[in-house]
Amino acid sequence: MAHILALILTALVVCSPAFALWPLPKDLQTGSKALRLADDFDIQLSVQRAPADLQAAVARTKGYLKTDKLQRLVVGRGENDRTAIKSAKELSSLTVSLTSNETVRSISEEAMDALEDRVETYSLTVPGDGSDATLKANSTLGLFRGLTTFGQLWYEFDDITYTLEAPIQIKDAPAYPYRGFMLDTARNYFPISDIMRTLDAMSWVKINTFHWHIVDSQSFPLEVSGFTEISGKGAYSATDVYTSKDVEEIVSYAAARGIDVMVEVDTPGHTDAIGQSHPEHIACNQGTPWATFANEPPAGQLRFTNTATVNFTTDLIAAVAKMFPSKYFSTGGDELNEACYAADTQTQQELNATGKTLEQALSTFTVSTHQALLKLQKTPVVWEEMVLAHNVTLSNTTIVMVWISSDDVVAVAKKGYRFIHAASDYFYLDCGAGGWVGANPSGNSWCDPFKTWQFSYSFDPTGNLTTEESKLVMGGEHLLWTEQSNQHNLDPIVWPRAASGAELFWTGPGKNISTALPRLHDVAFRMEQRGIGTIPLQPLWCALRPGTCDLTA
């Protein structure tokens, strides 16, 4: 009986029109009436002392309504809608208002609230009879999410902007508070205009965290006040640098789009670029053969047994933390290589002198950097090894990122830490592009195969977790490591795939993959209209004929 019910439900979903919202709202009711935007359509901001970023968001939304000019993804691209559109009722206004009387805060402030305090809920009503549409929320951040949804409702044909699915009623809220995208700007550098374009695309699919893996062993492009020698020598060039002004610009650009910027200064591994200016702090600095000392060239790790290095790193992390208003800061902590320290005479001498084990020294180091963060009211974030592979004292507020494998999720949950899904076997955008190390003609990527949008979409964030453990899931993110990427393939390698994780963690798991595809095509084509170099997921023939290119069709 249960099986029969499931089949009927599936059939209903498949038959419903491909309503092109991404991510899919929690609660969505649609009709089948045509409704067009009046020529003088306007968004009325009915908010006292509306913050500038909300006003700007309204203006951007009005701009998209005019410039998207996305035709429906059906054969004829809307030609068959001509009659329905001509006789459609006109919508002349969307009224945007707050439901609470509390002090109005800006989107930017609310976007940087603690995850548990972030309110992204909204409700949107678009009547079918032409009476005013309404968008309500009790936060400006919620209003921003609703504006994003409103901007995805409309298609263009013959200069008319319309929907075929009025009336529309949406009550929406995210399933998980953390929905991220990570970009590595150290393997290869990305100009800030490319990062900003990416932030725009992220905001369109309601991604709310930019995890900025800003430095690594290959380069240190962040200019840190008090430590300018690090980027002076460790950036790829004087122009491949993020100045404090660049950082401010990116942080405020992101915040105005509902995105918190969580910076990562990966330590104590992945730090060889610091060795260009501070060789005294780096063990096995560019040591060879690199494969003995690191997972990829160049080798080099902070000498965390050394008090001067601990102080240096703590000061550096505090200095970087002050550049970023986010309540979260990642100190990394992945892929620590022990052979590097075993071969480093200084480290061995210091261990001998203090009588500490390497793990004890690592704990002292981590406590020091994390104390600096806690003192600045920041929550530390770490890669999974810090709780699974090492014996390090961590604050119980620490958030863990699971990256090596989704198999490690349960072990992290058992430790009782809150965590974020970033597993390479589901969410790494760089997998499958071949090995990049030279002299290795048969090399494939370590995390083959390529992770398709479908595969990410099929992930279950609470699989194998108890109800209690499931509460530790903060959300998840797609990640782009950039050994083989820079601005030239940023858009095509990220979009629309990263939107898959965006819906998974906004809407929740278990949605139908077959009906998701037409919606994903839709958001990808809309992104393209807005200037993102998204790739086609299929031949256009398939995109115009939902279901026809499914495996068993």
Binding site: T288, P441, H488, N489, I535, P536, C549, T552
Partner: protein, 489 residues
């Protein structure tokens, strides 16, 4: 000349050439490059030389750049050879920039009688799965030319769309193109052909038949068996299904007329009629085909033979009993292992093995409702993988001459103008060197993927300076430190 002025490529070394400044400041200046044709024979424009039959194409040249400041000399017997000398790994790739000074650190340079190891060095683009505006094709032709690729194999139509406006058959594009703006007009085709030709590139047009033709059914359903039939996996290797009714006389005439109409639009001496992935079940299920076979008393292969009197493709030869003229050139695509059996049948052939050269492999399955689907030709083909390909493997010495060269294809189920550059470059430069340089480098050393990487980085960074969105093969850190990111270093 404008490349030498505009490239402004700094050397890929730590310091980007800052250490060269003393040497540059006292370096002699090269006043000129003297370009001359050898011999008294009449010469033709590059565009004429580029589209000659493969056997008559002459691309050799010699180049000398003295280190004492006396003029450089480029000589060739043909204008096409002069073009090769002016481009790529040779003259315009010798120069770097430091603070506005253009210099070489490798003088004197003496290249005597450089010439391609193989006459056919191509790149295939599929413009049917997704459409590519002509500007994107032209940009690609520029990049091809910079690595001496001399064939653009234009897989212009397929089952998904028919973007070619054929004057005698306008209905094909009107109904079969994705939209009225996603069409190549005869003027567009001429534009591409002449743009390619002056860059030393011949355009090989490909009208894939009798399979891969569903898009024709929008205007001529009478010629297509199993049009859009489902489940598509039973009727075609990808949706939508549909193949020309090879047993029908009317369809055979239609196809022959179509091919000859398209052939008159192009100037190349070569033309591809495709012929891959013929699905037998499609014809078994098609009542009309079965009736026609019964009334003519022919088998399907016999009907195909009639249909394809002059049509050509590798799996046609291997899997079907087809009569083909011995001037037919086969394209070996399924696997490199098929080349010796093609050679054994004495056909000339072009290497395009999916297990070495396919640029689209490894990007995941694209069919819907298939979360675990990977690309059929996993894994991704790295530049290194393509580079180690041996064109002469398992060929006898008498068969060597049958190998005309090779090409890397981009099938575009998951590509459009947005990722054309990053998915193609610099990887397609890999086979360009395999088939130009052959087994040994100009210095006599065996061609070697380890030493090739630094040069490939170089051409990649140069392509970026020229406006191509070529991807990084490694972190920039590695590009500046040749050898340090090798396996085992």
């Amino acid at each position: 000349m404008s490349h030498i002025k505009n490239d402004k490529l700094q050397r890929l070394v730590v310091g980007r050439g800052a250490n060269d400044s003393a040497a540059i400041s006292r370096a002699p200046s090269l006043p000129s490059l003297c370009v001359s044709l050898l011999g008294g024979s009449a010469y033709h424009p590059i565009a004429v030389e580029a589209i000659k039959p493969l056997a008559q194409r002459s691309e050799g040249y010699s180049l000398t750049v003295p280190s004492d400041g006396s003029p450089a000399q480029l000589t060739s017997e043909t204008t096409l050879g002069l073009l090769r000398g002016l481009t790529t790994f040779r003259f315009d790739q010798l120069w770097y920039d430091l603070q506005g000074l253009t210099y070489s650190y490798q003088a004197p340079v003496k290249i005597v009688d450089d010439a391609p190891a193989f006459p056919y060095r191509g790149f295939i683009l599929d413009t049917s799965r997704n459409f590519f505006p002509i500007n994107d094709i032209k940009r690609t032709l520029d990049a091809m030319s910079s690595v001496k690729i001399n064939m653009f194999h234009w897989h212009i139509v397929d089952q998904h769309s028919f973007p070619l406006d054929v004057p005698e058959f306008p209905e094909l594009a009107v109904n079969g193109a994705y939209s009225s703006s996603e069409i190549y007009t005869p003027a567009d085709v001429q534009d591409i052909i002449s743009y390619a030709a002056v860059r030393g590139i011949d355009v090989l047009m490909d009208i894939d038949t009798p399979g891969h033709t569903a898009a024709i059914a929008y205007s001529h359903p009478e010629h297509i068996a199993c049009p859009f039939s489902t489940p598509s996996a039973t009727f075609a290797s990808e949706p939508p299904a549909g193949q020309l009714r090879i047993a029908s006389q009317a369809t055979t005439n239609f196809a022959a007329n179509l091919i000859s109409s398209v052939a008159t639009m192009v100037s190349s001496t070569m033309f591809s009629t495709g012929g891959d992935e013929l699905n037998t079940n499609c014809y078994t299920q098609d009542n009309q085909t079965q009736a026609e076979l019964r009334s003519s008393g022919k088998t399907l292969d016999q009907a195909l033979d009639v249909f394809l009197q002059a049509e050509h493709a590798a799996d046609m030869i291997l899997n079907h009993n087809i009569t083909l003229g011995n001037d037919t050139i086969a394209i070996v695509w399924k696997t490199s292992a098929d080349a010796p059996s093609i050679a054994a049948r004495n056909f000339r052939f072009i290497h395009q093995p999916s297990d070495y050269f396919y640029l689209d492999c490894g990007a995941g399955g694209w069919e819907g409702n298939d979360p675990s689907g990977n690309s059929w030709c996993d894994p991704f083909k790295t530049w290194q993988r393509a580079y180690i390909f041996n064109p002469l493997e398992n060929l006898t010495s008498s068969q060597v001459a049958l190998c005309l060269g090779g090409q890397q294809p981009l099938w575009t189920e998951q590509s459009g103008p947005e990722n054309l550059d990053p998915i193609t470059w610099p990887r397609a430069a890999s086979s360009a060197e395999v088939f130009w340089t052959g087994a040994t480098l100009p210095n006599g050393m065996p061609r070697n993927d380890t030493s090739a990487l630094a040069r490939l980085h170089d051409i990649r960074y140069r392509m970026v300076q020229r406006g191509h969105q070529a991807i990084r093969l490694q972190p920039h850190w590695c590009a500046l430190r040749p050898g340090l990111c090798d396996l085992g270093s």
